[in-house]
């Protein structure tokens, strides 16, 4: 049951109505049952994994809080890390590691004996594992009070709007809100509904529509010319943003209707003027997690320069691996790590150059040039992220930099299936998206008045979403959310 399925359109109103109708004591219990039902609609057979992870992290956090001995606390924390990360590793990375090792053996002339297990990747495992780990670590550090009620803690881990693709919530933000159920509030409901509509617009009208053209190129890399690769990669940059931020908007909207405020996960990432800033605007909950639980424990920036740069690289390498068990994701993470290192080393020179050219750092010319450079660098890394395999990525790069410039623009567009209607649609949808994003930020400020939707005019958007949805269904191309696979 994805957010963009008919089942969810039935499921969510029932849950939201029950939430407001039921007495206070029963609200969270109903949410827990609904969340587990939501998860079991994906993979009923793997529900024991999320339950097991929840149980282990709850038990260990309780043991940590009960003991005064630092050694025992550390032991419980280590045990939890080994078990939770072990489960994640086994289901997500075992086959990848086995394949890589046997590839390495055969490269050196040995006899490879690859062990391949028939494993299904549990939906959202990376998200809920990180959420449970952040809870146990926070309890260990004494930053969060331990939750004695197991079932209540289980709701924190499995709360359905953010269960399968985040935002990765912190216990300090979500648990107090779940404990204080709200009464129906029309302002919250309106804001929530607006977020959901915008999320659906991003997913259905932009991401799914663009995916048609992107898939044509990335599924047939040998036929693609350089121009087709450039257009498809730029389109993928928009697609993945709309897909993931669309999911987040729907999640935030679902929770907001029930009076629960989830954390912001995106903040106009393509307006970033540096890669460093890009990562503080893209998938904010994951960047924050890595900062608090990996980067800072590694020493952060308060150490020698080379160690600081190494810390940055490690964080982005792990981030790449978190996104998927494939070399394309590892390379994607490594590229961002290298960007960070180069950015860090060249920052003073770049500032001097801007001064020498007679511009201030905040002048619009400098800001937009920097934004353009960051966008190009990010798009280059998306090529690896989207490629179906490393060999596909190599073919695409070869075509992009060497052999693909002989193909005419017309042939490139024909390969993508991009006709005049498609071009106009794509441009209009992206322009609409940019304006909606701006207006939403304005309206989210507490005293911001309704500009985007008033007097029932949101029906235009609902109409548009339904129409595109029906069209995509007719062509059998509606897709799941990209980040579900992580």
């Amino acid at each position: 049951m994805t957010f963009n399925s008919w089942e969810f359109l039935l499921f969510y109103p029932i849950v939201a109505t029950l939430y407001f109708v039921l007495p206070k004591k029963l609200k969270w219990q109903m949410l827990l049952i609904a969340s587990y039902y939501f998860y079991m609609c994906y993979q009923a057979e793997l529900v024991f994994l999320i339950f097991g992870t929840t149980l282990i992290s709850w038990l260990s956090s309780n043991m940590i809080s009960r003991t005064e001995s630092k050694g025992v606390k550390k032991l419980w924390l280590t045990l939890t890390l080994i078990i939770c990360l072990g489960v994640l590793f086994f289901y997500k990375y075992f086959n990848f590691l086995s394949g890589s090792v046997s590839g390495l053996i055969s490269y050196f002339g040995g006899e490879p004996s690859r062990v391949v297990l028939d494993l299904v990747l549990p939906v959202g495992i990376s998200f809920y594992t990180f959420q449970t780990l952040s809870y146990v670590i926070d309890v260990y550090r004494g930053e969060v009070e331990v939750e004695r009620n197991f079932f209540f803690y289980a709701l924190f881990v499995s709360f359905f709007p953010q269960l399968v693709a985040g935002p990765i919530e912190r216990p300090g933000n979500l648990i107090p809100q779940l404990k204080e159920p709200k009464r129906f509030n029309s302002a919250d409901a309106k804001k929530g509904a607006k977020h959901m509509i915008v999320g659906f617009f991003k997913k259905v009208c932009v991401a799914d529509a663009l995916s048609l053209y992107v898939n044509e190129v990335y599924n047939a890399p040998t036929e693609a010319g350089a121009i087709a690769i450039i257009i498809a990669t730029v389109m993928f940059a928009v697609q993945i943003y709309c897909d993931f931020s669309g999911y987040t908007d729907i999640a935030i909207g679902c929770a907001r209707v029930m009076g629960i405020k989830l954390m912001k996960n995106f903040d106009h990432p393509y307006l970033a003027t540096s890669i460093k800033e890009f990562w503080s605007r893209w998938h904010i909950s994951l960047s924050g997690w890595f900062k608090d639980y990996l980067y800072i424990p590694l020493g952060g920036s308060r150490c020698r320069k080379w160690r600081h740069l190494l810390n940055l690289f490690i964080v982005f390498l792990v981030s790449g691996l978190w996104h998927g068990a494939a070399w394309t994701f590892v390379i994607w993470g490594a590229i961002h790590g290298v960007y960070q290192i180069i950015g860090n080393l060249t920052a003073p020179w770049r500032d001097k150059l801007v001064c020498k050219l007679g511009f201030s750092k905040t002048s619009p010319v400098v800001v937009w040039v920097r934004r353009a450079v960051v966008f190009i660098l990010v798009c280059f890394s998306w090529l690896f992220f989207r490629a179906n395999s490393m060999s596909d990525a190599v073919v695409l790069l070869k075509s992009l930099f060497v052999s693909g410039w002989g193909v005419t623009l017309g042939d490139n567009l024909a390969l993508m299936g991009l006709d005049a209607v498609g071009i106009v649609m794509s441009i209009l949808s992206v322009l609409t998206l940019i304006m909606i994003d701006k207006l939403l930020v304005y309206e989210d400020v507490e005293d911001g008045s309704d500009v985007l939707v008033k007097n029932g005019s949101f029906i235009y958007f609902v109409w548009m979403i339904l129409f595109v949805w029906a069209t995509l269904l007719a062509r059998d191309v509606t897709s799941t959310f990209i980040y579900f696979q992580f």
Partner: protein, 108 residues
Amino acid sequence: MLLFSYPIVLIALAAIIAIHAIAALVRDCASRILTYINIVLHLLLLIPLILYKFKLEEAVLVYMISVFAYTLISYIKYLLFERKAEGVSEIDNKKTDTGECEEVADDI
């Protein structure tokens, strides 16, 4: 684009966009009435779309133009009136925008 060679489709689309614009300028009650009229027009537009059996993509484009026009008008209205009236909010926006980024950027 065959769809746009039919005057009835063009007239309906022009009417929809004009109503979007007028609804953004008039007061609440009149704006609401115009919105309902526009919703009916959107529904009526389905008739020629079905009758002439256009490709679905072309039909989607008609509605996309309507949504784009609506958002653009809302955006222009925001730039012209709301932004000036809510100058304080705009400053707050900027604060949260850069403040958050710089705080995190210091670390990673």
